[in-house]
């Protein structure tokens, strides 16, 4: 009996070690590309081309970053990406929390039909609407501006998904809260502002993360619309920089690292919320 339990404990321990080992190997495989990106950006060109490769930059240099900023306005790209994504998130939260609240808690004619109409926006991604949008924006001389990059996600996929998400949330809020407000003589706008929005803060955070990342990631629209380097976003600027630099991977990886770092820092401070939010968007979208 005793030997048996001893053996069972040992196999359990061995299993645990194997489990950790497998997980560690996976983690190394997943993180190594990032390590390689970062270390390449800190090497000299001749050391990037070396064989066998340098696993650790020696000499360690920051010249690539200095050259990066002298060749391309990466700080401008960063600013463009940040402010566009921020406005997109703000806009998505504004229009979709209003609409979501109305669809969940206000009874009006045609609300079910109109909800389905807005939901259908999720089937109209930018990939299929870009030609008319480009033609219309060019006609209005807005093609080479950020107008389209801000407005399209708000009323396209992100907004439609946001309306759905916010409606699902507001449905779960007890109607008594609204009635209490009504008895006190508050209007829907006041109830929405003072009671509903604070309650929805977690769902709003989910929506902000989702919309911000969608905009931050976007490549097709900036590529089609923008043709002045001062208006480029990070992904577009980086792609064109990489095409120019060719095999100077030390410089290209400096650009890639710089483009990744801001989001990475935000992510590491709130990993859980990021994972939950994006998974939820995956499931519900």
């Amino acid at each position: 009996m005793r030997i048996d339990s001893e053996r069972a404990r040992r196999t359990k321990k061995r299993k645990k070690i194997v489990h950790y080992l497998v997980c560690s190997i996976i983690a190394v495989i997943m993180l190594f590309p990032f390590y390689w990106m970062l270390t390449t950006s800190l090497k000299t060109y001749s050391n990037v081309m070396k064989f066998p490769p340098q696993w650790w930059p020696d000499p360690f240099t920051l010249d690539n970053y200095i050259e990066l900023f002298s060749r391309h306005p990466f700080l401008t790209y960063l600013w463009n990406s940040v402010y566009i994504a921020a406005l997109v998130s703000l806009g998505v939260v504004f229009v979709s929390s209003l609409a979501g609240y109305a669809f969940a808690k206000i009874r009006f004619k045609g609300s079910n039909f109109l909800f389905l109409v807005i939901l259908s926006g999720m089937m109209m991604p930018i990939e299929v609407t870009i030609i008319p949008l480009f033609l219309a924006l060019s006609e209005m001389n807005l093609a080479n501006s950020h107008f389209g990059l801000i407005i399209q996600p708000i009323f396209g996929y992100c907004g439609a998904f946001g309306t759905f998400l916010m409606r699902q949330f507001f449905i779960t809020v007890p109607t008594e809260l609204i009635e209490a407000g009504k008895i006190d003589g508050a209007s829907h706008l006041r109830i929405f502002n003072k009671i509903m929005l604070p309650l929805a803060s977690s769902t709003i955070a989910t929506l902000v993360i989702f919309s911000f990342l969608q905009s931050w990631n976007d490549y097709l629209m900036p590529l089609v619309l923008l043709n002045d380097s001062r208006t480029y976003t990070l992904p577009l600027g980086l792609k064109l920089f990489a095409s120019e630099m060719g095999v100077e991977w030390n410089l290209v990886m400096a650009g890639a690292t710089f483009s990744t770092l801001p989001m990475m820092i935000v992510f590491f401070f709130s990993q859980r919320k990021f994972m939950e939010s994006l998974a939820m968007a995956g499931i519900k979208g």
Partner: protein
């Protein structure tokens, strides 16, 4: 219940006011462009064409006799077909490994998730570097065990599989988290009961876990298909459609026809077809989700 809802009653004015920003925006930014896409696809609109005319379904006819369109369709299908099974197998495996709470699980999950928050362009460029024929990390590692690595990105047969691999690794974390969520909802007593019956872990996975999370598997599959149909940035950063046209996919072809050759009419017909496929897939997804609602709760 009834009298209660009467109290807050109908408020058509507020209702319409609250939805109007989204509704008007949706009509202008999404609905009209979709209708316009279809109308443009019925014309011979091109930059060099001064007199734009309605040509009916000519573009669609041309599409079906365009060998490149066949190739694009084939490539997009190949991309999808390669991505779905590998994605499911790996994500289910990762989810099984990382679903339980043990010391350090947060770190491992974060490691797998990190590519998800990396932009597609960074990810594509990074892997282009890793898959370089000379001095790329993959071929360097291969040469250490005396294998001469192929020209990953400049080989017509390998370009799509490499793009699939790159897309696969980027998405693993997201689908893993979705599966972990679903696996956690499976009641523990199922496993406890089967343990008493002496079922092995593998048996439990196939007889309990898989059937219980079937709805999530289905959803992930549909999301993956729609994502594959829209793939663009990976292709543009890794191969720019090449070598030649061997990694052209739907959106890449739309992009090339519309914004390099300015054949807006022809490009719109490809967009319209892509839209039709997305509509069908999304409707299937919604229908199935409705059927599974009781499952989600």
């Amino acid at each position: 219940m009834r009298s209660k809802s009467k109290l807050y009653g109908k408020d058509p004015l507020w209702g319409h006011t609250f939805i109007s920003p989204m509704l008007i925006g949706f009509i202008v930014i999404s609905l009209l462009p979709i209708i316009a896409t279809f109308f443009i696809s019925l014309t011979d609109w091109a930059l060099l064409n001064n007199k734009v005319e309605f040509i009916g379904f000519e573009n669609y006819k041309k599409l079906f006799s365009d060998p490149l369109f066949y190739k694009v369709t084939k490539n997009t299908l190949l991309f999808t077909v390669l991505l779905i099974p590998s994605n499911l197998v790996l994500c289910l495996g990762l989810a099984s490994l990382l679903k339980r709470n043990f010391k350090g699980v947060g770190f491992f999950r974060t490691a797998v998730f990190t590519p998800v928050i990396t932009t597609v362009v960074v990810w594509g460029i990074l892997w282009k570097y890793i898959f370089q024929t000379d001095n790329g990390l993959v071929n360097t590692l291969l040469s250490m065990i005396d294998i001469k690595g192929p020209q990953w990105l400049y080989n017509a047969k390998l370009a799509i599989p490499v793009a699939v691999f790159v897309t696969l690794v980027k998405g693993l974390g997201l689908n893993m988290v979705i599966f972990i969520g679903a696996m956690k909802d499976v009641p523990d007593m199922y496993y406890e009961a089967s343990e008493i019956d002496g079922a092995s872990k593998l048996r439990q996975f196939f007889s309990i876990t898989l059937p219980s999370i079937a709805p999530s598997i289905f959803l992930v599959t549909i999301i993956t298909i729609i994502g594959s149909l829209k793939v663009f940035a990976q292709i543009d950063t890794l191969t720019e459609g090449g070598p030649g046209t061997s990694s052209f996919v739907f959106v890449y072809y739309i992009y090339q026809q519309a914004f390099k050759y300015y054949n807006f009419g022809y490009a719109s017909s490809i967009s319209a077809i892509l839209f039709a496929i997305i509509v069908v897939l999304t409707l299937i997804q919604w229908k199935m989700r409705k059927r599974w609602v009781y499952h989600e709760n």
